[in-house]
Symmetry: C2
Amino acid sequence: MSFLSFRYEDHSNFFSEECFKARVKENIDYLEKVQEGEEKYASFLGWHRVDEWAGEEWLKRYESLASEIRKECDTLVVIGVGGSNQAARAVYEALGKKDIEIIWAGNTLSAHSVNKLFEKLEEKKNIYINCIAKNFETLEPGIAFRALRCYLQKKYGEDYNSHIIVTFTENTYSWKMAEEQGYKTLPFPINIPGRFTSLSPVCLFPLSVAGFDIRAMKRGAIEMEHKLKNSTDNPALAYATARTMLKDSGKTVELLSVFEPSLFRFEKWWKQLFGESEGKDGKGLLPMDALYSEDLHSLGQFLQDGSPSVFETFLHIKDPVASFVLGSDGVEDGFSYIEGMDFSYINNMAYEATISAHSKRFPCLIIEIKKMDEETFGSLFYFFQFACYISCLITGVNPFIQDGVEAYKNDMFRMLGKK
Amino acid sequence: MSFLSFRYEDHSNFFSEECFKARVKENIDYLEKVQEGEEKYASFLGWHRVDEWAGEEWLKRYESLASEIRKECDTLVVIGVGGSNQAARAVYEALGKKDIEIIWAGNTLSAHSVNKLFEKLEEKKNIYINCIAKNFETLEPGIAFRALRCYLQKKYGEDYNSHIIVTFTENTYSWKMAEEQGYKTLPFPINIPGRFTSLSPVCLFPLSVAGFDIRAMKRGAIEMEHKLKNSTDNPALAYATARTMLKDSGKTVELLSVFEPSLFRFEKWWKQLFGESEGKDGKGLLPMDALYSEDLHSLGQFLQDGSPSVFETFLHIKDPVASFVLGSDGVEDGFSYIEGMDFSYINNMAYEATISAHSKRFPCLIIEIKKMDEETFGSLFYFFQFACYISCLITGVNPFIQDGVEAYKNDMFRMLGKK
């Protein structure tokens, strides 16, 4: 694969090359199951063939609805929480605003945050909203949608319905409500759990409205699908094997570290994908994120010398994302040894130095990609989803359910007096 | 203490009341040591008596320099990383911008982030910078300071030096450089490790420039100091005892959870305080943060049903921070049962429901404060610093050093060709 590579570095004598290779070989049975897609999970595998929700017909539909809206609006408010917004937001925050701004809502119950949202909207000219929810009972998107409808009603009068696009599960109460109210509709894929919806209308439609190249995303994902399904020399298998081996050897936390702060939201997407898929039946690695180099000044000490509960996975972009060369104002400040260097070069040295230092303490897993663009995100989403499925098989849990969250939801509905 | 309380909730049969009380009693020896401050740590205890760096004379000095600058500037760029910026930033992000904006720099090597910083500065009228560094060899603040000086030189010509205030260690190379260049200077407290500098010029000066009430912060801290040093019925002792008991029973991760997203930076401050103080000699709890309710949709499943490696500490504000009442646009959307409720009330119910659900799985430690203002932050900073000192004594590590980060720094300096 030209644009994604996996390797590990270990000077802590934790892995032996032979042991790792033997384990990869043992796990090929799991890989084959994942490559085919197991019959028992058929109703969750809508993401497994990228073309199922990102085929030509679908892309045309997302793009045509998007271009209709793009003619009118300067701002799209995306209402969603967890699996309904993380993937789109990861791309948006990493690649930066294009011509149309997205504002993210429906992910908080804080009145303070909601007030800030409406203050921000006051500066905008023409607003559309895309409410995304698999299960429309979920509180945060539900009440944000209502608050935003009230706002639109005041702003646009009777015609406010035309500013609304919903991505809901078909043939549900909320879907019927949407049709009655005359909202535009897109289907929330019934056969994909929220955290696996990166290559579906959940993620692709808002990104298309914002001006991103969703065909490039699809291209990256398809190429990755082809690679992962047709080879046993497989980076997803290697990654899944390494991380589950580390778990078996007593590690409890996987830290995903990046040297590009704008990947912050991608880390959140990754955390949900693995935490919610793997964290059940008393099992799973706790996923945690770090934004370097800043967090080296906070977590570095612990990693190097604290409890040995953590191992680290680095996600790194090889080509410089941007350029800024350090100049001089003539002051002898002790930093002349890096004068004329590019920040991107220095950042890369910090990356190398971190791996060199940390891999003396624990194995470092390293995933490198070439550059940061839509195509890469498509491939990353598919790569991690596929690797997560293998990991869960090795761990022995069902990747596609999340019934552990019901306890909290039931307690809350009871307290709020829901019947 | 009227404005901070500690308790725990546990329906997992992990703690017994008697066992906890007995352990608290045993730990009173440690409390007494911390109340007095140990002789062997004297050179690190500049934070221990709030008046040492936030006494009347000091406050006057911070305020008078701040008011001089406030007359001129609309934007203060604070250059710092880790302990040099976390506390001030925690207050700034939580309480919101006052009349003068702070832009945070010196915490990244990403060229992308640095470019965004300079784009932002183009919109500003009159810029001052406060560069804060205990050890001016640190790369991120060092090169950001240089890049910003070059920028100011272009913008203001020869007079650019008058826009610079440095908070440096006295009698060092960088301090002499600052004096030669005619920068305004404040001392970085030589007897406080960076992560304990919340009640010193490192934090108080930039907040004073931005328009925050630093006397209220000091008041909160002094009141907390008085309470913690004069009682054995002590929330800091109780918190330190509970968390170290949980560590001894096999928990590896402490998750600090908040229901107010604007406490995001406070969590980062807390993570550094505990991670860097406690994470040494193969010991320590890994500190991790969660922003609820959003992260419930990502981590909730793992916490409820995944590996039992985590326990949770809730930091909660009791009084509503803001108000937003849910109205109606007349659509039957299934949320009429919460019509007319305030988001702050709903958020509070989510908090109660989360504790109810999670405490069935593991003990939940609960720290409640009344409201979110400068006074509270002063008391919180002191509370956690004091509790961290006790925790480290119980754990058996030196809270005030951080030599584990040297490995990475040495590797990097070598790669960059530093002599």
